[in-house]
């Protein structure tokens, strides 16, 4: 009886929890096999729910006989999951935050070839050379700067100039950030290990300040702590959109390195279809859907990313993608981050 009395609260708590979940969460407990006559498309998404949710709703509206299920997670972890699942994966589509995770699945031979009609919508710099995945939107590495202190003519022509004495202690970067690491990988691939190492060491010697995230660098520029920072382009537009300041009064502006400089690498978020997809046609429709005009506009409006298909214009405050010369990088190579991490650690940056 003493046992019963002491276990009771636990059992009661469990019952209450189960009851609560059961009565309120009809979306929760649904297990596989309860299909009905709707066909179900399963997406593994490395892009977040607030962003993908409206896309899913729009697609379901367009094809009323379809139900979409989305598993959200970190792009790389979802790629690792798909690899463990192998050809039994419940996923039909992988919607990735970056090209690296798609490249990893391509290397494992888990992605299906996309038809030329789909691939042809996007410039070949922004899709898999083997045709296994396609970029859906682009983000550019930029030098964000404080336009209260600097004018366009003060800004460096190359990211390599940031090791010069005039930039000492004025630059911010985010060495633990995935986009930054992709950029360093790209630098290794185009400029070589030695040049990358000496750039990293030069930056380190130049008292470059480390931050946790891109957004923190932007805020540090806005608050006057540093003058410039290496970030992705959309962080500044995001701050302008969220805040009351307009583009002119907001203290941070974007500088795109000219002439195919590696400092302005264009990386993409993209989509791939699994070879094992049980709903290949539907998956194909979803990929095309992401590249259609309304969705490309959504990317441009919602996240200020660069649309990649259908000649949809980017945010009016940004230069055209064609004017930013993409350095000669195969985005699938950006999956090779092991050497980058070793290099960052060697140079004392990480």
């Amino acid at each position: 009886m003493r046992l019963a009395r002491s276990i009771l609260p636990m059992v009661a708590a469990a019952t209450i929890a189960v009851g609560l979940a059961a009565c309120g969460g009809d979306d929760a407990g649904e297990s596989a096999g309860a299909g009905g006559d709707k066909s179900t498309l399963t997406i593994y998404s490395g892009r977040d729910e607030a962003f993908v949710g409206p896309l899913v709703d729009a697609f379901e509206k367009e094809s009323p006989d379809t139900e979409i299920k989305v598993r959200y997670g970190d792009s790389a972890e979802l790629a690792a999951t798909i690899r463990e699942e192998g050809d039994r994966s419940p996923a039909d589509v992988f919607f990735s935050q970056d090209a690296g995770a798609l490249g990893a699945l391509q290397a494992e031979g888990l992605l299906a070839k996309l038809p030329d009609a789909t691939l042809g919508k996007v410039d070949k710099a922004y899709r898999s050379t083997a045709g296994d995945w396609v970029g859906t939107s682009g983000r550019v590495r930029v030098l964000a700067y404080d336009h209260r202190k600097l004018t366009a003519s003060d800004l460096p022509a190359s990211v390599f100039d940031l090791t010069k004495p005039e930039w000492k202690g004025k630059v911010g970067w985010a060495p633990t950030n995935a986009s930054f690491q992709s950029f360093v990988t790209a630098m290794r691939k185009t400029e070589g290990e030695d040049k990358t190492r000496s750039w990293l060491e030069g930056m380190q010697a130049n008292a470059t300040k480390s931050y946790e995230k891109n957004g923190v660098i932007r805020d540090a520029i806005a608050s006057g702590e540093i003058e410039v920072g290496l970030i992705n382009h959309y962080y500044v537009l995001e701050a302008i959109k969220e805040g009351e300041a307009d583009g002119e009064t907001y203290p941070v502006k974007l500088h795109f390195f000219p002439g195919g400089d590696i400092g302005s690498l264009v990386n993409v978020a993209g989509v791939g279809i699994l070879k094992s997809a049980k709903h290949g046609d539907l998956a194909q429709r979803f990929a095309d859907f992401l590249l259609a005009t309304p969705q490309q506009k959504y990317f441009a409006d919602e996240t200020s990313e660069y649309p990649l298909a259908d000649a949809v214009p980017q945010d009016p405050s940004l230069p055209a993608l064609g004017d930013i010369q993409q350095p000669d990088v195969d985005l699938a190579d950006l999956a090779d981050l092991k050497g980058t991490l070793a290099l960052l650690q060697d140079a004392g940056v990480l």
Binding site: R2, L3, S6, I7, P9, M10, V11, A13, A14, I16, A17, V18, L20, A21, G24, G25, D27, A28, G29, E30, S31, A32, G33, T42, D48, E49, A50, K69, V70, R71, Y72, G73, D74, A76, E77, A79, A80, T81, R83, E84, E85, G86, R88, S89, P90, G100, A101, G103, A104, A178, E212, G215, A220, E225, A335, D336, L337, K338, T340, L341
Partner: protein
């Protein structure tokens, strides 16, 4: 001479325990649990065996040795730090006349509900080079504080979130301890300190050792603290292998090494856990132990409890509240938070129930039938706890989709993952409690015709219920914070608070995750209050 109360019985107890072999249902049950918990190790073996060369190359580097030393160093430092903090708190809240003991008990146990990633983030924002403290000091011309990144920061956060793992079993052991031993020693003239060393400490050793082991293994497998505070432990490097270089084999090879580190820690704890008798020395019911008056020492004692509770719990909560109020009104999605809270409660309750049941045979074997076979079962059932969540989750993905496709990505699979991840939390606490129940009582029950199971259910378990429940609470609190397993294994659409916090913090700044973090703390504080607040 005070040790005579313990020592002569030791030999008798050992003979008695060795005399009765474990029954085969018990062996089968614990073997099944151990095998399930060893699934991740099996997965690592499969991956490493798939590409042995690449695996070898991934770990055959001078850096690996440094990594090994760093991880082991952090684990040991956290284990000892947590014990050093927990021991005085346990004694003060159980055996002294500290004013407001019950409140203090709850307050100093509460850091258990703090997920390491939140604690680490708060530490950085409070004490980081450009944190809140720096902001306060800015007028004095201080632009940057010295870095807290690295070992010190990680150690601090991990001690704060793990010391309750030592505190809870120590409190339970102190409360169950037979005062007759102390009386005997005192009767023979032992002074207080000597009493503490020769009578109390040995009695507390199994609880402290089990708790310290859990704290150390937690430090080994935790990702939140080491990633935010940038300490290169095994877990951080393993995550980087998955996330940055998509290097599955390399990650598995490192994780396999991590299993070896765990084995070393287990061996260390087994050595510390002497084969002694921990149960009551005489027939009859145990009296409540006498409460020791603190006298003048009351004030430093109160200050100590206030300091620990303040820094480890009130300060973090204060910061979360501040952020919640500062973030734009209406920014918190309360309906999403509510449905996530429901999911968290459900999975944590199911995990606590399932894990507690699964831990019973393992704990029983450990308490009543020590030996080589038992050590193997215990090591196997601990391996999931020592491995990073991502490895355990991927292991269950790998086996789940092949062996039980019907259960794949259902709640059942997620609960299994939680059992694998958290079994030692329940087993350690249950075993410590069982050790303090004299086997003589079961034997007496068997003597009057009870079956072994009947005797266990009617005599032993009720006496050990405190430890069993404490174990269930520990599992509940660990499960409610779990992230990687939930993201990869839950049914699609199933939401929990850590998943919501993760989404909010990846999308924007930590502030928008503050409200769900507070809800997470509130929901987890509830069962804790039930368990700690009720007792004595």
């Amino acid at each position: 001479m005070a040790t005579i109360a313990v020592r002569p019985r030791e030999r008798m107890a050992r003979r008695r325990r060795a005399g009765r072999p474990a029954s085969s249902p018990l062996l089968v049950a614990s073997a099944v649990v151990a095998a399930a918990c060893a699934l991740p190790v099996g997965y690592l073996a499969v991956v490493v065996a798939g590409e042995p060369r690449a695996a070898f190359e991934a770990v055959w580097e001078p850096e690996t040795l440094a990594l090994l030393a760093r991880s082991l160093g952090l684990a040991l430092a956290v284990g000892f730090g947590a014990t050093a903090l927990a021991a005085p708190l346990a004694w003060l809240t159980v055996r002294s006349d500290l004013p407001g003991r019950r409140t203090w008990t709850v307050l100093v146990t509460l850091p258990l509900v703090l997920p390491s990633y939140i604690a680490a983030y708060l530490l950085v924002s409070a004490l980081g080079p450009r944190g809140e403290l720096q902001g306060l000091l800015e007028p004095l011309g201080i632009e940057r504080l010295p870095s807290i990144y690295g070992f010190v920061g990680a150690w601090l956060v991990l001690v704060v979130v793990t010391y309750p793992l030592v505190l809870l079993p120590m409190r339970a052991a102190l409360a169950r301890m037979d005062p007759a031993l102390e009386d005997a020693a005192r009767g023979m003239g032992a002074r207080r300190l000597r009493l503490a060393r020769t009578v109390i400490a040995p009695q507390l050793a199994p609880a402290a050792g089990a708790g310290a082991l859990l704290a150390a293994l937690y430090a080994l497998s935790d990702f939140g603290a080491v990633s935010i505070l940038r300490f290169d432990s095994f877990t951080r490097v393993i995550y980087q292998s998955y996330r940055a270089s998509f290097d599955r084999t390399g990650a598995a090879a490192l994780a396999a090494l991590l299993v070896l580190v765990m084995a070393a820690l287990l061996a260390l704890e087994a050595r510390a856990r002497h084969r002694r008798a921990y149960f009551r020395s005489a027939p009859g019911t145990a009296r409540r132990a006498a409460i020791v008056p603190l006298g003048r020492w009351r004030w430093p004692a109160l200050a100590f409890c206030a300091l620990v509770g303040g820094i480890a719990f009130l300060l973090p909560v204060g910061m979360l509240v501040y952020w919640t109020t500062r973030s734009v009104a209406g920014a918190t999605d309360w309906s999403a938070t509510l449905s996530a809270a429901r999911g968290s409660l459900l999975i944590a309750a199911l995990a606590a129930l399932a894990t507690t049941l699964a831990a019973l045979p393992v704990a029983w074997l450990g308490a009543r039938h020590p030996g080589r076979r038992t050590r193997l079962v215990e090591a196997a059932s601990t391996s999931g706890y020592a491995l990073p969540g991502i490895v355990v989750a991927l292991a269950l993905v790998f086996f789940g989709i092949r062996a039980a496709p019907a259960l794949y990505q259902t709640l059942a699979m997620l609960v299994l993952a939680m059992v694998v991840l958290f079994l030692p939390l329940a087993a350690g606490s249950t075993r410590a409690a069982l050790l303090q129940v004299p086997p003589r009582l079961e034997e007496a029950a068997r003597g009057i015709g009870r079956s072994p199971l009947g005797a266990a259910l009617s005599i032993t378990l009720p006496l050990a219920r405190g430890g069993v429940l404490a174990g269930a609470a520990l599992v509940f609190l660990a499960a409610i914070k779990e992230l990687p397993a939930v993201l990869l294994l839950s049914p699609i659409g199933f939401d929990t608070l850590p998943a919501l916090i993760w989404r909010e913090t990846t999308r924007s700044f930590f502030e928008s995750g503050a409200a769900p973090s507070l809800v997470l703390l509130a929901v987890s504080a509830l069962p804790l209050w039930l368990l700690v607040g009720r007792a004595r």
